[in-house]
Every structure is written in C-alpha cells, then in structure tokens.
C-alpha cells in the first residue's frame, strides 16, 4: 500500500513516522483527500455500502420490515420490575419450583426488554444506525430477541439445564456488543449526526438495559448451580445471590492499582516513580458487589488520576505525588474520595466529562485507539435458519451430551467479560469514554459518581456505592 505523504498544516501537534509500513497509518482517520480525483473514483464504487441492507447481515433484509410486526407487539408490553432479592430467590431455601419460576421469568422478561431497546434503535435516524457498529448491535439484539422467542415453557429441571446452556451461549456470543456500542457512539460524534443529549440518553438507556439483562441471566445461572450443588443451603434474609461477592475496598484498590500501573508502563516507563496509593478511613469496609463492575469503576478512576499526575509532574524525575483514597463506610452506603494532584480540570470542561459526545477530534482519536485493541472481535457470526429465525451455537452442538459441556463448569466467575478486556487494555488505547460509562454503572446500582476540581492543583473523584442487599426489596432492575 502506498504511503500517503504527510499533510502540511499549521496546527500540527505531535506525530511520528510509522515504524513498520502498516496499512493502518495515522492517516486512516484523516481523509481530507476525499475530494481528490483518485479518491472520488475509488469510493464511488462502494456507494451502495450506504444502503439499508448490508451484505454481512442475515437479518437486515427486505423482509425484515414486515417480520418486525411481531416486535412491535412485544414493545407494547411492559417490563416486570424486579429486585435483586427476587432474582436471588425469595425465602430461605431454593426449591425446584423457584428454579423453574426463575427460568421462566428470564425466558419471558428478556424479549420484552430487548424489544424496547430495539425500538430505540429503530427510531434513531437511519444515518446514525447505519454505521457498522450500531448495525451490528441491532443485528445482535434482534438475533437475541428471536432466539428467546423460540424457547418453550420450562417445566422440568432437565429443560432448565438446556435453557442454561442456551442462555450461556447467548451471553458469550453477544459479549462484544459493548465495544460496538462504544465505537458506535464515537462514530456518531465524528459524523455529528445526533445531538449530544440524544446520544447520552440513548447510550445510558442501552447500557442500563444491558446491565439489567446480564444480571438477570447471571443470577439465574448462579441459582441453577447452587440448587444443584447445595440445594439445602440456607440463605440469610439479605441474600442477593452468589454473583455478588463480599468485597474489601482496600484489597480491591490494591489489585486494580497494580493492573493500571502495569498498563501504563509503555507510556511512562518508570515503575518506581509511579504514584503510590495511600488509603485511609474505614479501611475494613466490606460490601457485596459484582467484582467486574467494581474493578471497572476503580480502574477508570485510577487511570484518570494516574494519567493526570503523570502529565503534570512526569517531566520531573521525582517520585510522582501519591493518589489518596479516603473510604467512608456507613450503614446505607460506602463512599470513596480519590484525590490526585494531577493539575485539575477547567470548570468549563467539568460539565462535559460525563457526556458520551466528545469533540470530533477526540472522538477520532478514541476510535482509532479502539480499532487497535488486540483481540477485539469485530464481526459476529450470527446464524439464522432459512426462515430467518435465530440459531444459537452452544458448546454441546455436534458434541452430543458429552461431559465437555458440563453445565457445572459454566460459572459466572469464568464468564467472558468485555469489561475485563477493557480494564486490562494497555494505556495507549485511550478510549475517552471511561467516566460516562462509570457513571452509568454507578448510577445503576443506586450509587453516584461526581468530580470536584481545583484547577491547577488536582481533582477529587467521589464515588458512592449503595449497600446492596440492605434494601434488598428495593426494585433495582426496573429500568429495562
């Protein structure tokens, strides 16, 4: 591939010549030559890629519009609000009835919630959803919707086993949705075809719904497992399920701190100078939470603090000022104040850090970074039958009922998680969406995330997490 010469500009910031001649040069994202003769001729051949029925899709076909009538009916139904305790199984013991009731609840609820989100996508402007990423999400959701509709009522534990295999496989298949959602948001910022408030509202509701659905499914999988392993287990009144582990804040900060520091090694190759974490306050605070979510929250906050500190003090060859974390435990919630000396943020910018809409330049950079994350799966392999209904590939397909797909091994702790991939990404792949995402997650669990800043000095991030289980009858998964 020929190397395109660097464009001269008056505002050139920093650049470097590519070390290897990779086809993905920095110019992939700067395409001012779209007006040139050669470029016009080239891209004109592909103009039909902007059409409504992409070639990679099995679902987006001319018949889809008419088949969609079914979904319109589903979207009229209301989702059933539910609390964590209900999901974890009411009462002191799990019974077979509870397991089956849980299974059928999952079976019926999920399509309704999916239908609502699909409707969201259907009402957005075509230009927004027509990009590759959101089209993948649309397809993925629709595939899921159709897959759930096919499942008949679950009446026996055996049927429940099968059901669990299917929903587990579904979770796996769709794990990459999060990255596409984020990339879709970035692209629509670059093309500027959606208002910022609309983008934020859309992203929040999609993310919330996603969290809801996954928690519902994972609770059920966990329930099934417990019923099998220890059916006589007696649960305390505030039990909310095994997917929530008891977390000691100090311990987790330590773990996450090490991850983040390691990921920044390439950017700041002086590990001995990296800021320390000084933890004070109620160091023994312990609370139930989902570990991946907790790590994500801590991780993004620490990452921002470290980055700011390095930027401000990195040029001195001294040990960087530490990041101070204060933990305040109380009956209803636990608060964390993460203070850094990273130079702070201008107040004018403070309001917009929570938005998914960045300036087009920043979005472009973030998207470029996103594309470079190694191991990021970009294409789905969703299969459909000739009638268009969904095929879910489970591990047991083709292997019969061998012990390879032993249901006991499908535990929530080993579920693939995009969040983990995102947490452990090397620093150079700065995505720019950390804070908005964290806010959605914190908000979801009835917590809060806010930021105060002393411009020129540093910032204080305030994370509040509710004690789940305390008000375990509080309806938390009502937002579909």
């Amino acid at each position: 591939m020929t190397r395109v010469g660097l464009r001269f500009t008056g505002q050139c910031r920093k650049y470097s010549l590519p070390k290897f001649s990779s086809p993905i040069t920095s110019h992939s994202y700067i395409d001012d030559d779209f007006l040139s003769l050669v470029s016009k001729e080239n891209i004109t051949k592909h103009i039909h890629d902007l059409g409504a029925y992409p070639s990679f899709s099995n679902i987006l076909t001319p018949q889809h519009f008419y088949q969609n009538e079914v979904l319109l009916q589903y979207s009229q139904k209301l989702p059933h609000p539910v609390s964590l305790r209900q999901l974890a199984g009411y009462g002191r013991q799990l019974t077979k009835q509870k397991v089956l009731a849980s299974a059928n609840f999952v079976r019926l609820e999920l399509p309704i919630r999916l239908a609502m989100r699909i409707r969201d996508l259907q009402t957005l402007p075509f230009g927004v959803v027509n990009n590759f990423h959101l089209a993948q999400i649309y397809e993925s959701y629709y595939h899921l919707f159709n897959a759930f509709r096919k499942i008949p009522t679950i009446n026996t534990l055996g049927e429940n086993e099968e059901f669990c295999t299917v929903i587990s496989a579904i979770l796996d298949q769709h794990v990459f949705n999060l990255s596409h959602l984020m990339m879709g948001a970035l692209e629509s910022t670059i093309f500027n075809n959606l208002q910022q408030e609309d983008l934020d509202a859309f992203m929040s509701s999609m993310l919330r719904s996603r969290i809801s659905r996954r928690v519902i499914v994972e609770e059920h999988l966990s329930l099934t497992e417990i019923h099998k392993k220890s059916p006589k287990q007696e649960n305390p009144p505030d039990y909310i399920g095994e997917i929530f582990q008891s977390c000691n804040a100090e311990e987790h900060f330590g773990i996450v701190g090490k991850f983040i520091a390691a990921s920044m090694a390439e950017y700041f190759p002086h590990p001995e100078l990296m800021p320390d974490l000084i933890i004070e306050g109620d160091k023994n605070a312990t609370f139930p939470f989902m570990v991946p979510h907790l790590h994500y929250l801590f991780g993004e906050i620490l990452r921002n603090s470290f980055e700011a500190t390095i930027k401000t003090h990195g040029h001195n060859k001294h040990k960087l000022p530490p990041v101070k974390i204060t933990i305040i435990d109380s009956k209803k919630n636990v608060m964390f104040r993460i203070s850094d000396k990273g130079g702070g943020i201008a107040h004018s910018k403070l309001k917009s850090i929570w938005s998914f809409g960045k300036s087009p330049e920043l979005a472009r950079e973030s998207l470029a970074n996103f594309h470079r994350i190694p191991g990021l799966q970009l294409y789905s392999n969703l299969q459909v039958t000739s009638a268009g209904s969904s095929i879910v590939e489970t591990q047991l397909n083709g292997l019969g009922l061998t012990s390879v797909g032993d249901i006991n091994k499908i535990s929530t702790l080993t579920k693939k998680s995009t969040l983990e991939l995102l947490i452990t990404r090397p620093y150079k792949f700065k995505l720019g969406l950390g804070l908005p995402m964290c806010k959605v997650y914190a908000d979801y669990w009835n917590g809060d995330l806010s930021m105060n800043s002393l411009e020129g000095y540093g910032s204080d991030t305030c994370l509040t997490l509710s004690k789940l289980g305390l008000h375990s009858n509080v309806v938390q998964l009502d937002r579909a």
């Binding site: 086809p23 993905i24 920095s26 996508l121 075509f126 649309y138």
Partner: protein, 430 residues
C-alpha cells in the same frame, strides 16, 4: 513529501489535525479488512455531507432565459459543469434527508429502493464530475449518457414513493410525512428541470432551430396552448376509452383577441375575436403543462363519465405578455367534491382506486409516461400539481426598484357540491 490537495482552501477548513501515534501492533486480516471498509465508509459520508452543505441553486425563470440567450458552443460547457454541481448538491441533500428518517422507516423495501435510486444517481454524477466535457461531442455524450440516465433512474419513482409511505405512515407523524414529501417532490421537479434544460440546450445547438440570443433554446418554448390542451385531452381520453368505453369533450374559451396577448388597454382598434383554430401562444415548459392538464383532466373526465354528464369540460384561458402570466380555469359539471373531503384534497392521501367507486374526487392517477389501463390511485396528484405550479415562486426577482406586482404561481379549487368543480391556475411566464 508534501502533497497539496486540490481544494486547499476547502480542505483546510475541514481539516482536523490530530495525528495519532502509530504503533507497530500486528493486525489480523479481519482488522485490516474492517479498517479498509471503515475508511471508505467515512469518506463516502463526508463526501455526501460536503455536497449536501452546498447552497442549492434555485432555477428561476430568469436564469433559464439567461442560459438560453447566452447559449453558444463555449457557454454550453460552462453550463455542463454548473449542471453537474447543482445536481450533486440536490442529490446529496436528498440522501441526507433520507438518512434522517428513522431507521425502521428506511428498512422498508420501497423506501430503501428510492434511497438506492439516489445512491445510484449520486455515483453517476460523481463520476461525471471527474471528467467534465471539454468539447461539443463530449457534451453530447454527457447529455445522452449521464443526464438521460439520471432522468431514467428516477422516472418511475412515484408509485414506489406512494407504496413506501403508505406502509410507514404509522411510524411517522403527519407533519413529518408532509414536510418530507413536499420537499422531496419539489426538489425532484427541480432536479429534472435542471437536467432537461441542459439536454434541450445541447439539442438546440445541434439543430436548425437554434436561435442565437433567443429566449427559447432551453426548456421554455413558445407553446400553442390550444395544441397542448388537445394533446392531453386525447391522452386522457385514451385511458377513459380503455376503462369506461367513453370519452369526454373539452371546450376551450378565451377572451383573447386574435394575433396578440390581452393587455390592459382595451382600445385595440382592429381587434378581432379569436376563432377555434387560432393559436394561443405562451412561453412555458411543455412537460410541466402536460402533467398539469393530465391531472386535472383525469379528475374532471372521470367525474363527468361516472356521473353520466354529457357536457364538455370547459377550459378558459387568459394570458398576458407584460407582466407575463397565463391564467386558466378548468370547469366541470362532475357533481363536485363532498365538503368533508375538500380540506384534505392537498394532503398526501393513500387512497387506492377501487372499481365501481363513484366518488368524483378520486382520480385516475396514472403516473405520467405510463399509459394503458393502470388505474391505481396514488393520492399524489394534487399535491404534486401544486409543486409544479409553485416551483418558481421562491425565485422571483425581488429588486426593490421594481414596483410591478410580484406574481406567484397559484392553484386553487372551488367546489360546488352537487354541481361541479372549478380549478383556477396561474402560471408565471417570466
């Protein structure tokens, strides 16, 4: 190596200069392929955005006359370039408007088909813009291949438009539909006008009729309105014959004096009333008038035939040379339009024609160009008609010195329920 782009000024304003550090990561084939596709898609969207942001050139009557007067072997090439750029701007705008429709609406096959037509014509225009004609032969080829193809691609759009919007109406508000269709139809008329103008100008140059400096080398020609009426009467009667085995007559009435236009001074000494054969001359765009007469005759003839009215439909004409306009009244005895329907006749309705139906307001709506026995009613006849007549309204000269009354194209309908309907038309000549 520094490469200056063609449109340096333009590029600079669009330039976003954030170079990204390139890392020597290894990319899977999948990632490579994906990024290649991504780059193409990004460029396409930017291209459309760029053209859609250009101001639309509104073709005023004056401008059309200008082009005709200035026509020669050199100016035609300049006009060719302007034509392509104009069409690109209009086409890109349409694409953007389609892309603003909700996602589900665009998934409808008929709407998608329309959108694809515009993608198709965009691609043709883009290629044409790369090689503008530099000789007369190239210009002829441009007319025949590019422009004619452009018109052909969009020729049968109306039934698809009607079908599509019928199916997606429940997903949009009434205002959204009306706004979209109004803009769509009027821009469609503009695009076809621009293309036709160039084709006719090119043809004029080649033919013996070419009048250097004359006004009528383009789409605007001196027409004998009597002939136009007769032609369209026959066309519509053909359909009526096929369907009803009957025809309808037309009587033309005018107060014009033979040999000239009517003017405000009534003291013309040797003025003689016109006979039935004297030509009524007025400069206008023939195929616009064709559509107008066809639509109105379809309505009136059907009303007469279905209500067994033997009298002819009356067409009354009054033209003026300065200011230049033509006023028409088409009067039928077809029992009129029911009062509750009257306020909706300019809405985009989706009535489908059913045989045996006797309502006089429903039309034999056949898209222009398709003859024969097709009688599917589209409900687009009157709103489209209004667009044709009002097309030049936005471009009248607003010279503050000019004190003459500003005249606009007008269409109005007066119905006498139980008796008949009168349609009043005014078309602006210059």
């Amino acid at each position: 190596m520094i490469r200056l782009s063609r449109n340096l000024k333009l590029s600079r304003s669009l330039r976003n200069v954030n170079f990204v550090k390139c890392y020597s990561t290894e990319f899977s084939d999948q990632q490579r392929e994906f990024l290649q596709e991504y780059k193409i898609r990004l460029s396409l969207e930017r291209l459309i955005y760029h053209y859609a942001s250009q101001p639309l050139s509104k073709f005023s009557m004056l401008a059309l006359y200008e082009q005709s007067r200035k026509l020669n072997n050199t100016t035609i090439l300049q006009i060719a370039q302007e034509t392509v750029e104009s069409l690109l701007a209009y086409n890109a705008r349409r694409l953007r408007k389609f892309r603003n429709l909700p996602y589900l609406v665009m998934l409808n096959p008929a709407i998608s088909e329309l959108y694809n037509m515009y993608l198709q014509s965009m691609s043709i225009l883009l290629r044409a813009s790369l090689y503008p004609p530099t000789t007369l032969e190239e210009n002829d080829r441009f007319s025949e291949e590019v422009l004619s193809e452009f018109i052909a691609i969009h020729a049968d759009a109306l039934p698809t438009l009607s079908k599509g919007f019928g199916e997606v109406m429940h997903l949009l508000t009434e205002t959204q539909v009306k706004q979209f269709l109004d803009q769509h139809l009027s821009e469609r008329i503009s695009m076809r006008l621009i293309a036709h103008q160039h084709i006719l100008l090119s043809n004029s140059l080649r033919s013996t009729d070419f009048e250097k400096g004359g006004n009528y080398n383009g789409v605007i020609k001196l027409l004998n309105i009597r002939d136009v009426i007769k032609k369209n009467r026959d066309f519509v009667n053909d359909i009526c014959q096929m369907k009803y085995d009957q025809i309808c007559r037309v009587k033309i009435d005018t107060n014009l004096k033979s040999g000239g236009f009517w003017n405000l001074r009534d003291d013309f000494p040797d003025s003689v009333p016109m006979t039935n054969d004297d030509p009524i001359i007025f400069p206008y765009i023939e195929y616009h008038l064709d559509y107008i007469f066809q639509e109105l005759f379809k309505n009136s003839f059907r009303a007469h035939i279905e209500n067994e009215v033997a009298e002819p439909v009356q067409v009354t004409i009054s033209t003026s040379s300065s200011p230049s306009y033509m006023e028409l009244r088409i009067r039928d005895r077809g029992k009129g339009i029911p009062p509750k329907i009257v306020k909706h006749i300019f809405d985009y309705s989706y009535t489908t024609y059913e045989s045996g139906e006797g309502d006089s307001y429903k039309t034999l709506n056949v898209p222009p160009g398709l003859g024969g026995n097709t009688v599917a009613g589209m409900g687009y006849g009157l709103p489209l008609l209004k667009s044709y007549i009002e097309i030049f309204n936005d471009t009248l000269s607003y010279d503050p010195e000019d004190e003459s009354p500003k005249m606009k194209g007008l269409l109005s309908v007066q119905s006498y329920w139980g008796w008949g309907t009168d349609v009043y038309l005014k078309t602006v000549g210059q």
